[in-house]
Symmetry: C2
């Protein structure tokens, strides 16, 4: 293997059962297939023995569905980690704060990070921004993440889909390549047949 | 002074001449009064001898208007720092990466950070997210920041105003209090008459 070759990893962020409690998160989310697409990418990485890391949010707020020991804290069955797979626990939005993620990636020689999971506008955006600012070539997969409705400071309701798309528009070019699951798997398959 | 009292600081991010090169940044921006509002807040902090820090972006891209030694790299006249005022230079979006900002704030005992400047969707959002995730109580001032038009991954153009408002909607509650210059100065004036 060329020493200068890029080394890629997949980061699966906060794909936890508690995110199904829609009322807690704003009432409505877009992109119901996000988890199915995360699983497709996970399958590719498992089959090709490429590195991947789960990130699990451990809320410090007892009212949160992601508070540890609640059922909602568990990673969803569709992408459930095997016992020998790495799960990094965090308790803020960015997977790089209060964790050993940066060290783990650097020790593994990872240069390129593909980020998927929930939610586009909170933990994905925060993690993508830090990933890029810390020097990782970063890709976010538009159909493997999803957003929730938000109320603006003006009292206006912004639908999940516009939150999702404007978040990706702000990440694109400045922080990350934005692609979709199908295109990414095709591209990865060329390098890892 | 009560030892447990919150200690506030103002962070003025990337209010630099090069941001006036609209074509480079997407063609159109909203909120033309952002700099005037930044100045009102700066005046309040100067007059009341409260701490504030300028952040200046030093692009590593020679094509950027914010590349050092270009005229665009200079902080705008309206908020120009005096020679004895602190300017923190950075070269990524987040003011907390590759800088001593976190140390400086902690050494000064700052617990609450008010963040203003440019642009809402890039450096303000990145800096607000890290500020909150690092444990600072964070406020972003909606009319003292501004956004640029963006093209989404779907090819759709999103106007500066919707980028601005959806960015603030995503920051609100999760990362920051979102307020406006007039309300914030009124609130500050009660504590610092």
């Amino acid at each position: 293997m060329d020493k200068n070759e890029n080394k890629i990893a997949l980061l699966l962020v906060d794909i936890q059962q508690g995110l199904d409690e829609l009322e807690f998160y704003g009432g409505n989310r877009n992109n119901p297939n996000a988890e199915v697409n995360c699983r497709k990418l996970l399958d590719f990485f498992r089959e090709h023995k490429l590195p991947f890391f789960f990130v699990q949010h451990c809320s410090t707020n007892p009212a949160s569905p992601l508070f540890p020991n609640k059922k909602g804290h568990q990673i969803k069955e569709i992408v459930a980690p095997a016992t020998d797979e790495v799960v990094i626990q965090k308790n803020v939005n960015s997977a790089f704060i209060g964790t050993h993620l940066q060290n783990k990636l650097e020790q593994a020689g990872i240069t390129n990070l593909i980020i998927v999971g929930l939610t586009t506008e909170h933990c994905i955006s925060s993690t993508v921004r830090m990933s890029a600012n810390l020097g990782f070539s970063t890709t976010v997969v538009s159909d493997a993440t999803a957003a929730f409705d938000k109320i603006g400071p003006d009292g206006v309701k912004y639908e999940a889909e516009i939150i999702h798309m404007t978040t990706l528009a702000s990440l694109q070019h400045e922080f990350a390549i934005v692609t979709d699951t199908g295109s990414l798997i095709k591209e990865l398959a060329l390098k890892h047949p």
